[in-house]
């Protein structure tokens, strides 16, 4: 969070020229090996390290996809190119598990979670950014403080609330809490709203626009970049969440994909039937949508992470 603000602080640094001149003077004084040579060696080393690290970060994906195209006996052979290439696993996995239902469930939860949290967080952020009212700072302090509370401290009563509403065993508890907004997104969007010129909204009010119109038709469209970041973060969080699936879902047909993948690991992994080729294939199916989302929203996600200091 500090990085954004520091950008402006670092801006007006004093007197550039004296040091610059001094540097140029210093260069010829360097002994023996020319600086250009050293620079080349360093550049090659950095390049090699970067390539090596890239392989380390990307290879597990390649391994996973490759393993999903191997027959059962070859899954652990660590070959890059499958010895016998087969798409049978992708057929078999639909028979072994209700994969289609899981994908539909997850898509539903993810879309609902993303839509509700984006709209409601924007509403609340606008309330805090646009208006002055008694207790505003205290309430916003509570927003920030609530980010510190570990999930475990609220997990059990939250379960009891959904239980008393008879909603345990349905998909509702996986997204409905988002109707109330999320502290981190409220904080992020408020920062963005504060960066917009208030004169714009004053003028609209003078022209007779109501509070809702100013928010919905003027402020929100201007906030699109930040809304996209919030939506992408939440999409990823909702799609990949396991714990809520473990707590709230009972029947296999109702599982989300991460919950389903865990149940497949329990059924087909160690202590089970040893069908790792199905586990690998289900892992690819679980991960692939996130890879696609990342390549579509890459710029926004990375800028969002860099500027907010979030840990998605």
């Amino acid at each position: 969070m500090s990085t954004l603000d520091r950008a402006s602080e670092a801006g007006p640094t004093t007197s550039v020229t004296p040091e610059r001149l001094a540097t140029e003077d210093a260069v010829p004084a360097e002994p023996q090996r020319s600086p250009r040579q050293r620079g080349t060696v360093a550049r090659v080393l950095v390049g090699a390290a970067l390539v090596l690290m890239t392989v380390a970060f990307v290879y597990p994906f390649v391994w996973l996809v490759s393993a999903s195209l191997k027959p059962r006996s070859d899954v652990f052979d660590n070959r890059l190119i499958p010895e016998t290439l087969t798409f049978d696993n992708y057929v078999e996995v639909w028979n072994a598990a209700p994969m289609a239902a899981w994908l539909v469930n997850t898509a539903f939860v993810t879309v609902m979670a993303t839509l509700t949290v984006t709209i409601s967080s924007a509403l609340v952020a606008w309330g805090f950014a646009r208006y002055q009212f008694r207790g505003r700072n205290l309430l916003f302090g509570l927003v920030l403080a609530s980010m510190m509370i570990p999930g475990a401290a609220t997990m059990i009563p939250t379960y009891l609330i959904w239980n008393s509403l008879g909603l345990v065993g349905t998909l509702t508890p996986l997204w409905a809490g988002n109707v109330f907004g999320t502290a981190f997104y409220i904080f992020l969007l408020r920062q963005f709203f504060l960066g917009l010129p208030p004169e714009l909204f004053d003028a609209a009010e003078i022209d007779g626009a109501g509070h809702w119109r100013v928010f919905w038709h003027i402020a929100l469209p201007l906030t699109r970049p930040a809304l996209v970041v919030v939506a992408l973060f939440e999409f990823q969080a909702a799609w990949t969440d396991l714990m809520r699936g473990l707590i709230y879902l009972r029947d296999r047909e109702d599982f989300t994909v991460p919950r389903g993948l865990k149940s497949m690991l329990d059924q087909f992994g160690f202590g089970g039937e040893w069908h790792w080729e199905l586990i690998v294939t289900a892992s690819v199916i679980t991960t692939l949508p996130m890879v696609i989302v990342f390549f579509i929203g890459q710029r926004q996600i990375i800028q969002g992470v860099a500027s907010t200091g979030t840990k998605g």
Partner: protein
């Protein structure tokens, strides 16, 4: 709540002088409240009430079916003498003490490399961040497969260098290091945050240090790191809180219905044991006491970090 009477605000507006920050003052009091009401309701129902109720439940015996019976401090007394709680705490602390520094150093190295990557930086940055998108369940599956002692890819690689890799997934001494290695794969967001901070380090300072004959290492240690220390501090705090609550990767790989073939004590994190107590054994009262303890631990650890930050973190300029 569509279209809240535009006419009524129109009459009062023209007289008002333009304000500078945070919007105009004289509105009906309920209008801002209407905007923040979703959070207000959510905070009361899903945050304030649950925290208080967790505190109450921690003093009771409760199995969801029968009403809670009041026990006083019995749960806490049991907690202190529960060997599994102590084991889970030790596991969690050991993992946190290993993974937070390892992730920080690794992500700093990657960020420093990226900073020198020139025009290709965008490509490498994408590669480093990609694993962060992977569902933690799939990360748990990859852990079981790639770090498998007999046929895993990691041990095959170590074999090329003549190293006989350990049984990362079954040897109690190597389960936590295996989880740390796995956690290094998902440092992408730290890398990006650190890179953003590195790019804010003023060139003038580095040039000045270079003129004074400071080596690359001394420039890093005495100029760059102090300047980015607020960011490092932020990452340490966030990673520590996350590590103390880590659940999904370890639970996926070592717990659940199928894992009865080998001991998984080494991977029993506090959040996992809490989850088991609450939702597998339905010991809601006992689990609530565990949650209160976790809350207290997170608060104490964060307070200690705040105190340490006064000594080691340099804030250039005024208030953050």
């Amino acid at each position: 709540m569509s279209l809240a009477a535009p006419a009524s605000t129109g009459t009062a507006a023209p007289a008002r002088p333009p304000r500078r920050r945070g919007g105009s003052g004289r509105h009906r009091a309920w209008i801002p409240l209407l905007f923040i009401s979703p959070w207000l309701v959510g905070f009361l129902v899903f945050m304030a009430y649950p925290v208080v109720y967790t505190g109450y439940l921690s003093l009771t015996d409760y199995d969801v079916i029968n009403d809670p019976t009041f026990l006083g401090l019995d749960n806490y007394r049991e907690l202190v003498s529960d060997e599994k709680v102590m084991l889970a705490l030790r596991n969690t602390f050991v993992y946190t003490l290993m993974s937070v520094p390892a992730q920080l150093v690794f992500s700093l190295v990657l960020a420093l490399l990226l900073q020198r990557a020139g025009r290709a930086a965008g490509f490498f940055r994408t590669a480093f961040f990609l694993p962060k998108m992977t569902p933690p369940v799939a990360v748990g599956v990859l852990l079981l497969m790639l770090l498998n002692g007999q046929s895993g890819l990691l041990n095959e690689l170590l074999g090329w260098f003549g190293i006989n890799g350990p049984n990362w997934t079954t040897d109690p001494d190597w389960v936590k290091p295996g989880l740390v290695v796995t956690s290094l794969w998902t440092v992408g967001s730290s890398v990006i945050i650190l890179l953003a901070a590195l790019q804010q380090v003023p060139d003038e300072l580095l040039d000045a240090a270079r003129v004074d004959g400071a080596s690359w290492w001394r420039r890093l240690w005495h100029v760059v790191l102090p300047i980015i220390s607020p960011t490092i501090y932020f990452i340490v705090v966030v990673d520590t809180i996350a590590s103390l609550q880590s659940f999904t990767e370890a639970y996926t790989a070592f717990f659940g219905a199928g894992n009865t073939t080998y001991s998984n004590d080494a991977a029993l994190f506090y959040a996992i044991y809490l989850f088991q107590q609450a939702f597998e054994f339905l010991h809601m009262g006992y689990a609530s006491a565990m949650a209160v303890l976790l809350f207290a631990i997170v608060m104490v650890v964060t307070a200690v970090q705040v105190m340490l930050s006064r000594r080691y973190v340099h804030y250039t300029g005024g208030a953050r």
